[in-house]
């Protein structure tokens, strides 16, 4: 087990190195740089700015400097937000995104499993159809539309929830959390349903029924536990995704999270911020996948995590 974890950690570092390098060279390959502006500055000023930000150095030197900044976890000041360092932006933005993401995750798991179980228990009956229609809506309606509808309905029409903003009250987090939860809810509901249906056909379910267990007990105690395994696989990337924030939801609800930075840093060609957010997101994603793989072995004793073979994913 310890050897397995060690191996995976080494893999994580190798992956990170590849991600950092790829990001750096792709970022440099896109036309335009942080100084590209509608108002170009005079030549002497441009040279001074390039020198100040180290953009006049050879690409390889810049690459080494970036590697160093990643290794020491000090990305320096943002080129766009001159009042903040990249570390500040990540430290400020991540807790916000994470809080919202966990709320959404809680909602998604709760609602998704309930919908999925209902659908499977009433297979090919009305509740099944309704659950799956909801799941299709959750998957296909883009979250910016959902967010706008929530705002319109709950804020403008009913006036019961604040439209947007952050940090003043818990109410402000409700609409964005629901908007963020829609897609994962739908995915979880569908995953749960299909796995439940499969599990319900298994011989041990018939045994349970033959033993005289009630339908509810057998469903929740025997079927659900097995049916949730694929859901857990999905949770790894999902957690990484929701805790680092969603661009659209953060933009519409004016949330000072990391998801916005992730996208706008690329539009701004804010090199240090692009590197910082990418590396941060990669680490979270890789660690989450590892945790899920380990968790898998705990939940399903049939799966042995070991150095050989693939441990899930």
């Amino acid at each position: 087990m310890a050897k397995y974890i060690l191996q995976r950690v080494v893999m994580i570092f190798i992956s990170l190195f590849i991600i950092v390098s790829a990001t750096f060279f792709m970022m440099k390959a896109i036309p335009g740089d942080p100084l590209t502006s509608e108002r170009s500055v005079s030549e002497e000023i441009e040279q001074q700015l390039r020198a100040y930000y180290g953009l006049d150095e050879p690409l390889f030197i810049q690459y080494v400097k970036y590697l160093k900044s990643v290794a020491t976890w000090d990305f320096g000041p943002s080129m766009k937000y001159k009042a903040q360092t990249v570390n500040d932006i990540i430290n400020d933005g991540f807790p916000v995104s994470a809080l919202l993401g966990l709320e959404a995750l809680f909602l998604a798991i709760g609602m998704g499993i309930i919908l999925g179980v209902i659908a499977a228990m009433f297979h090919n009956k009305v509740p099944d159809y309704i659950s799956m229609i909801l799941a299709v809506i959750g998957m296909s309606v883009p979250n910016f539309l959902l967010a706008a509808l929530f705002q319109y309905y709950f804020s403008l029409k009913l006036g019961i929830l604040p439209t947007a903003g952050w940090g003043d009250s818990f109410e402000q987090t409700i609409l964005p959390a629901f908007a963020l939860a829609a897609l994962p809810t739908a995915v979880i509901a569908r995953l749960t349903r299909s796995n439940m249906l499969e599990v319900l056909q298994q011989d041990y379910m018939k045994t349970a029924k033959a033993k005289g267990l009630s339908r509810l007990v057998s469903t929740f105690k025997h079927a659900l536990r097995n049916a949730l395994l694929p859901v857990i696989t999905y949770l790894g990337p999902l957690i990484a995704g929701v805790v680092t924030g969603g661009f659209v939801v953060e933009k519409i609800f004016g949330i000072p999270g990391l998801g916005m930075q992730f996208v706008t840093s690329i539009n701004n060609r804010d090199y240090p911020l692009i590197m910082g957010t990418t590396v941060f997101y990669s680490i979270i994603l890789l660690v989450m996948v590892l945790i899920v793989d380990l968790l898998y072995g705990v939940i399903d004793p049939r799966i042995k995590v070991s150095g050989k073979g693939k441990g899930g994913e």
Binding site: I30, T36, S42, E44, K157, F253, M260
Partner: protein, 574 residues
């Protein structure tokens, strides 16, 4: 079994609730029209109170609201609150309310004395002597002195200081040479005569210099605060902004990055008696529709210009309701021709394309923001020739010019090289490009293809001359023709068109050296005439600023340069 049924019904309940939510959300769309109509009625009633900007001084005090808190939306995080580093509107919107320069611009764009209580201008208009207002202090208790200005300006012009906007200070004698590192900072045309007297020598008689002194790059900084803390003095990260020493009508009380800035009235400000607002909350919500919803629900007192924009599809409705405020902006939307490649290396060809455009139709039906068709390059706040230099949608002349151009180029219309019109990815630019593409097709029979690219890629393409016709805009920094005309004075910089004209450059050089205003205007008009004869750019429209404000907000006057002085704003009871 009983327990089972209870659980099942609980599940069903949850499920019904969830379903109800979705149905409710889906149904919302149809009801939208009804609400809009309802609002029309209610908001029409308050129309008169909303539109008057002039203050009724007589009963002002009696109506003053208890809660003098203004809530507005900056639309984005200000990148910096350091005046020497600022290059954008959101930073400027905060900075210009917490720091005060030698002059401030009133709502007509005229400079008024601020930190300077007296300004003497020499006869050759090359030497300005400012007397600093007595009793003006910084928030740390220090008096504001001439040295604070000299220090701030020298800081910007230091070759090792990364200031994008340093060129704003170039009218000062030797400033450019100092910034380029060719001259010592001591040779800069700034002299601190005593604590309260600042003498500034200029390169040329610069007619708009007192407007410049109101611009944020010219704002003073407190030498002690900056020199002791270095460039992080305005950063607000570790020490909650204790170093951010200011001298304006407001002070920054808190800056929650990417979320909210709170300004408070500065009681030590020299003119504190005329400041009525106690608190200003500035949010940073990027989405225009969200901003509008927050305004409609009373969570914001202001929506739209100068900080953000009203969504285009809402503009006509708000205008019909009579609640939309619109004023001109010192800004232009234009198409630039690449004059280095055929067919737009031919002036007649450029003019044919420019004359064809139906600007009135575009502002009425496409952009819809009450913009004015641009038939020159100078917006109405600084226009030299009323009525412009050519006729809008002049298809007759355009066709003649088009045929003459083809003859000059020795080709037929079929042999015209393929033409591409470029714009940066955005719905608004796309609609305008499509309209103009159609107008060119109808009038000249030319097929033009459209191309859109992401903003920075787009700018790189234009810088590298990798375009034929490209849309750009320009917003003036100050209310003087050179803010537009100087763009085409030389190659490089923001010219983009690859167009250079000796006569044009001479006319502008003459204007720069001319102390007499009337004669100067003649030179400038001459330059604009040349620009319109040669047409390296096709002007489309002069921009406007559209905004909504709650009827309780009074005294707000937005200038054409896009700056809102919160100093004069106050709130009244409903």
């Amino acid at each position: 079994m009983k327990k089972g049924i209870r659980k099942t019904s609980l599940l069903l309940l949850v499920f019904v609730l969830a379903f109800g939510t979705f149905l409710a959300a889906c149904g919302g769309d149809e009801e939208e029209n009804e609400t809009t109509n309802e609002q029309t009625e209610t908001e029409n009633g308050t129309e008169e109170t909303n539109n008057d900007e002039t203050t009724d001084e007589g009963n002002m005090d009696s109506d003053l609201a208890e809660d003098q808190t203004l809530r507005l939306n900056l639309g984005e995080e200000p990148p910096t609150l350091d005046p020497a580093l600022a290059t954008d509107n959101s930073s400027g919107s905060v900075i210009s309310n917490v720091l005060e320069g030698l002059t401030v611009l009133d709502k007509d764009g005229e400079p008024q004395n601020a930190m300077a209580s007296d300004i003497q201008i020499s006869d050759d208009k090359k030497t300005y002597t400012f007397t600093i207002r007595e009793g003006a202090t910084w928030t740390n208790g220090d008096p504001v002195t001439a040295n604070d200005f000299a220090y701030a300006w020298k800081r910007v012009l230091d070759p090792s200081f990364p200031s994008d906007y340093a060129s704003q200070l170039y009218p000062i004698l030797n400033a450019q040479a100092v910034k380029a590192g060719e001259m010592s900072i001591d040779e800069l045309g700034i002299t601190v005569i005593d604590e309260s007297t600042l003498e500034v020598k200029l390169e040329n008689p610069t007619a708009y210099f007192l407007e410049l002194t109101a611009f944020y790059t010219f704002l003073p900084v407190n030498e002690k605060a900056v020199s002791e803390n270095g460039d992080v003095w305005a950063n607000w990260t570790d020490d909650e902004g204790q170093f951010y020493v200011t001298n304006g009508p407001f002070k920054v009380a808190s800056w929650d990055h990417q979320n909210k800035i709170i300004l408070e009235k500065n009681d030590t400000y020299w003119d504190a008696d005329s400041v009525k607002l106690q608190t200003v909350e500035m949010l940073m919500i990027a989405d225009e529709n969200t901003e509008l919803t927050m305004f409609e629900t009373g969570q914001l007192d202001w929506a739209g210009a100068p900080y953000s924009a009203i969504p285009t599809d809402v503009l006509p409705f708000k205008r019909d309701e009579g609640v939309l405020n619109t004023i001109p902006q010192v800004g232009i939307y234009w198409y630039k021709f690449n004059t280095s490649q055929p067919p737009f290396d031919n002036a007649k060809m450029r003019k044919a394309f420019a004359y064809t455009i139906n600007r009135q139709m575009i502002v009425d039906n496409v952009s819809q923001g009450l913009q004015t068709p641009a038939l020159g390059v100078l917006p109405e706040t600084m226009e030299l020739k009323a009525g412009g230099y050519f006729k809008d949608n002049d298809i007759e002349t355009a066709k003649t010019l088009f045929n003459e151009a083809l003859a000059e180029m020795n080709i037929t219309a079929d042999e015209l090289p393929p033409i591409t019109l470029s714009y940066n990815t955005s719905e608004g630019h796309k609609k305008i490009a499509e309209a103009i593409q159609d107008q060119w097709k109808q009038a000249l029979g030319v097929d033009v293809s459209l191309q859109n690219t992401e903003w920075k890629v787009y700018l790189e393409d234009i810088n590298n001359g990798n375009f034929q016709v490209a849309r750009l805009g320009w917003i003036g920094d100050f209310n003087d023709p050179v803010t537009f005309l100087d763009l085409y004075k030389e190659l490089g910089g923001n010219n983009d068109t690859r167009w250079y004209n000796e006569e044009y450059t001479t006319a502008l050089a003459n204007a720069a050296e001319e102390p007499d205003e009337a004669k100067r205007n003649e030179f400038l008009m001459q330059a604009e005439q040349i620009l319109m004869d040669e047409m390296p750019i096709a002007p489309i429209y002069f921009s406007t600023q559209n905004w909504l404000q709650q009827p309780t907000v009074k005294g707000a006057s937005l200038s054409a340069l896009g700056s809102l002085k919160l100093k004069n704003v106050y709130k009244v009871n409903e």
